[in-house]
């Protein structure tokens, strides 16, 4: 066997009779059996008496916040796949860190979790934890009598853990159990029952024999969980990541001269599902194809397929500062909800403002020049309304022209959709 990794300068400091002492010895023996040097191991712990473990060994160590040990451990393991990462947590940590336990079970990253389960919060004075039996007398008064304890093994099993075993701190061969769990290629959990002499057994009879008897009545949890066997997450991740291809946003070269100089503000008012945001982006790409600078500020409700959708676009040959529109040059008004969201703005519109509105959308009285678009007659579906309005705008030719629009559509849409949007532009321009 390899040398002990126990830190002679920092011997365990547990209460006399604490089962954690036995687990410390067993863990060291497991490391020795596996022949692991200290720099191949990371012990990750969090708060409570189980959180002292990282100090007893000459290994890499990270001690963090209550219930979060599995999160640090996952980061370490993903960054350093060659490292054996052993996590020590108490039964308290299973409660506060429950989401992380479930995630670790589901994910199957190669971590070993030793749950030092002594049925109470020892360090803070013996309060009840998620594993405290209802009949136990603990310092939480009557509260534990009202709740059901959790069987960590059953939770882990149903959450997808590939290796789950219930052990006693007092059983022979505990070091072998730990070594086997560490050697398992995937997430392995040992629920190690023990005695807290400082708090728990003051008012509750608990002996190694009682633990063994109680464990015998529990549903089996004996290591490998057949139904949860699968490939280890880290190796799966690296394989899947290796198949990814790197994609950068496209650069938009200038290939046209803009139809006019200066700054143009275009406001698109519509509904979710009318591709307002896409149309705003197409407009910006069209402007950029003529060397203009562009900004696009969007507004929509968090309910993606309902509610107003608004895009504020600025095209300019000068740098653009403020990105919201007070007095747009063009308003594209395609739905009642969108118009209502910007109701107050119409009163300030100038006579030179062009308003492209769908026939069925009413707008407040304003000074702008209105052009109504009969989308039904043009054969334009709701999802195509905003793009159809851009086709009209391009035909009009003051801010963008049709060449710019076509280039922008090619940049924005995949081959599959492109043909239909180009056809839409042709159709709308020939009929409007």
């Amino acid at each position: 066997m390899a040398d002990s990794l126990l830190n002679k300068d920092r011997p365990p400091v547990f209460c006399p009779g604490c089962s954690h002492d036995r687990i410390t010895g067993a863990l060291d023996k497991a490391f020795r059996k596996l022949g692991l040097p200290g720099n191949r191991i990371a012990i990750v712990s969090d708060i409570g008496c189980s959180g002292l473990f990282d100090t007893f060994f000459h290994t890499h160590a990270l001690h963090g916040l209550h219930g979060r040990a599995l999160t640090y451990a996952a980061g370490i393991k993903l960054a350093r796949p060659q490292l054996q990462v052993v996590v020590t947590m108490g039964d308290g940590g299973q409660g506060i860190g429950g989401a992380h336990l479930l995630a670790a079970c589901r994910r199957n990253l190669n971590l070993t979790l030793l749950v030092l389960n002594n049925f109470n919060f020892g360090m803070t004075g013996g309060q009840f934890s998620v594993t405290t039996p209802p009949e136990a007398r603990v310092s939480s008064g009557f509260l534990n009598r009202l709740e059901r304890p959790l069987d960590i093994c059953r939770v882990a099993h149903s959450a997808g853990a590939a290796y789950v075993k219930r052990c006693s701190s007092y059983q022979s061969g505990l070091a072998d159990e730990i070594a086997e769990a560490i050697a398992f290629d995937g997430f392995a959990l040992l629920d190690i029952w023990g005695i807290c002499p400082g708090r728990y057994i003051r008012q509750n009879p608990l002996t190694p024999k009682i633990i063994a008897e109680k464990m015998a009545t529990m549903p089996p949890a004996d290591g490998i969980v057949e139904e949860n066997q699968r490939r280890e997450y880290g190796s799966l991740y690296r394989q899947a990541a290796g198949e990814q291809t790197f994609s950068q946003p496209e650069s938009i070269a200038q290939r046209f001269q803009p139809p006019s100089n200066g700054r143009h503000e275009i406001l698109l008012l519509g509904d979710a599902g009318q591709r307002i945001i896409s149309a705003g982006e197409v407009l910006c790409l069209a402007g950029m194809s003529a060397g203009l600078q562009a900004t696009q500020k969007n507004e929509y409700n968090i309910t993606v397929l309902r509610g107003p959708s608004i895009s504020e676009v600025i095209l300019s040959n000068e740098p653009i500062g403020f990105t919201s529109l007070a007095r747009p040059d063009i308003v594209i008004a395609l739905s009642r909800e969108g118009v209502e969201r910007r109701q107050s703005l119409f009163a300030d519109l100038q006579p030179q403002t062009l308003i492209l509105k769908s026939l069925d959308t009413n707008i407040p009285p304003c000074a702008g020049a209105t052009q109504a678009l009969d989308f039904k007659k043009l054969g334009v579906k709701p999802a195509d309304r905003a793009l159809a309005a851009l086709a009209v705008l391009a035909k009009n030719g003051t801010i963008i022209d049709t060449d710019m629009l076509r280039v922008a559509l090619r940049l924005r849409f995949s081959e599959k959709i492109l043909a239909s949007v180009l056809e839409l532009v042709d159709r709308v321009q020939s009929r409007s």
Binding site: N39, A42, D54, G64, R80, L83, H100, A253, E299, A326
Partner: protein, 372 residues
């Protein structure tokens, strides 16, 4: 290269890649989600690790583990997520774990409005950790800043071993702009420093000449200790008041004494009576307002602070000195103005704040300047 059309969040991801980010973990939240999306597109293909955590606490926990294992790490969220990060931020600050944290701010309080912007987290970012240890907070104005300041944020996290925040805003993060990132001057990339002699390595050892401890990764040849507990140079718990005091003061001074080395700002100095101080997306409206004021023949000065924390006190004292009047404008009910008033305690500092989901407009800023 020709310009690209990208939003601030995408530029953050591209900046992270440029800075050498090797690990990202995040939990979806509007308006920060598109950083997670972009990192997922960029990082795995570049042999890095990008994962979606089961919650925010886990996401930053993964980052802390990965950072201690030697990977440059970043996470991104919005106000509600920063709340959940809090205990881990304290860990990173107190135990000197380099990490970049992006806060794409949205209108609060609480879950507030997911798709409306605000700068409501400015004091929270500074003081949202137990113990009150300083952190670095950088505030971008536009997409270009999102790229450059993210690179600076990584450099600062590496150099000073601390959490560095990017205080972005929905109105920057999710607003798209044409920008040519390849034309920008990018700072030299900085990496955390390993000790010259690793045999005698102590994880938190410092000296007269070394204010920031050397770094060795968990998983390297030499066993390394990290702990959230109050620790001595060896990384074990200490109860020695002198050792504790020295360490706490060092954590404070290593950042506050160095702020002049990373004071980022823009200014438009004018021979004028009034100086407007602002930051973040509001700087764009203030810039337009300054242009309009100049056109109207009554120019104003403008100071855009991009290093918010530690407060660049010298910058603020120096830049405000020539002006008779100082006006602070921010997208909240008054947060950073307290710092300006603290520094300029002998002066009257005017304030305008707004937190209603709308951007502060150039017209509003002009009204404030005109005293209307």
């Amino acid at each position: 290269m020709a310009p690209q059309f990208i939003e601030g969040n995408e530029a953050v991801a591209m900046g992270a890649m440029r800075a050498g980010c090797g690990f990202f973990a995040g939990y979806p939240i509007t308006p920060a989600t598109t950083i997670l999306n972009a990192m997922l597109r960029l990082l795995p293909a570049a042999s890095g690790v990008c994962i979606q955590g089961e919650d925010e606490i886990a996401s930053i926990g993964y980052c802390l583990g990965a950072s201690m294992s030697g990977l440059k790490s970043m996470t991104a969220t919005s106000g509600p997520g920063i709340s959940l990060y809090s205990e881990q931020i304290s860990f990173a600050a107190g135990s000197e774990i380099p990490i970049v944290i992006v806060d794409v701010q949205r209108l609060g309080p609480s879950t507030g409005s997911a798709t409306r912007g605000a700068d409501g987290d400015i004091q929270f970012l500074r003081w949202g950790n137990s113990g009150g240890i300083p952190v670095i907070v950088l505030a971008p104005v536009d997409v270009k800043d999102c790229y450059l300041l993210t690179i600076h944020a990584f450099n600062l996290a590496e150099e000073y071993r601390c959490p560095v925040f990017l205080a972005s805003n929905k109105e920057i993060g999710m607003t798209k702009e044409s920008v040519d990132l390849s034309a920008l001057m990018v700072p030299e990339i900085i990496d955390r420093r390993p000790p010259i002699d690793s045999a005698s390595f102590q994880p938190f050892q410092v000296s007269e000449n070394l204010r920031i401890p050397y770094f060795l990764p968990i998983g390297g040849d030499v066993p390394v200790r990290q702990t959230s507990s109050t620790h001595g140079p060896d990384g074990y718990i200490t109860t020695d008041p002198d050792q504790i005091s020295a360490s706490q003061w060092r954590l404070k001074k290593k950042l506050e004494d160095a702020v002049e080395r990373f004071t980022f700002y823009d200014e438009r100095a004018e021979d004028a009576e009034t100086l407007v101080i602002t930051y973040g997306v509001t700087a764009r409206a203030a810039g337009d307002a300054a242009n309009l004021c100049r056109q109207a023949g009554r120019p104003i000065g403008l100071l855009v602070v991009k290093t918010l924390w530690p407060v660049p006190e010298k910058l603020i004292r120096d830049k405000t000195a020539p002006y008779r009047r100082v006006v602070v404008v921010e997208m909240n009910l008054g947060q950073y103005v307290h710092e300006i008033r603290r520094i300029l305690s002998d002066r009257q500092v005017e304030f305008y704040g707004q937190m209603d989901g709308r951007l502060i407009t150039p017209a509003t800023i002009m009204e404030v300047i005109d005293g209307r």
